[in-house]
Symmetry: C2
Subunit: 119 residues, 2 copies
Amino acid sequence: MESNQPLCCDTTEIHMDLVEQVRSQLPQDEILYDLAELFKIFGDSTRIKILYALLESELCVCDLAKLMEVSQSAVSHQLRVLKGSKLVKFRREGKVLYYSLADDHVLSILNQGMDHLTE
Amino acid sequence: MESNQPLCCDTTEIHMDLVEQVRSQLPQDEILYDLAELFKIFGDSTRIKILYALLESELCVCDLAKLMEVSQSAVSHQLRVLKGSKLVKFRREGKVLYYSLADDHVLSILNQGMDHLTE
DNA sequence: CTAACATATGAATAACTGTTCATGTGTTCA
DNA sequence: TGAACACATGAACAGTTATTCATATGTTAG
């Protein structure tokens, strides 16, 4: 039994040159990490719904809360995340904060995702 | 003190008509949920890295493990997820499974994300 | 058939994430 | 100045997720 545990491809080193070549083409780890962080934002249905709503119109926090039937606090927490990634912006009018999409990359990203689903 | 806790916009109902109109434009909840699930896949740096690697070349599991310096098991688990979302496919050659991207939506989605980061 | 090996997978654990609850902040109006 | 309100935020809790470890599966060579 005495397993000397061949971790993976220990003997053959199947495609070591290819591995090196591909490695040299990869974006830096930090960039990949940031990219994952960005997609993580889209990976929550509450946030997706907020984004789709803002695609239609600028809305205030309580509009969003009503629209989505979740608490004001939950919406506010998520808007904070979206703000942090520069996906939404807001303007103040008295007590009310009106949120809107920061740019139209949001739409592009959402559309690409939809394309993959509906084919 | 006796808070009757005005949940949110209780009195004014600021933009109730607008809320209804926006609601009617939103995709179905189930679609939004599926879309979030898809983006969740992209929201992990291990999986992002796998996808970028496969963008360069078809690779076997242990190539990927070496390339990314993670365990074979971790790669295998993630490939399972990617397979489940039809983002990668594979072909068998003897004992070795070669993975590749399922289609070029993957590239489109990654590129849109990159665009948002690098502007 | 059996040993070797590439890969898959189930269980367990640690880290992370989203919501709720309670409360704080900033603005308006009287 | 103080009450009312829209919104933000910190702490806590529950649910989710990625990795590791151990082991199982499926294929090849002898």
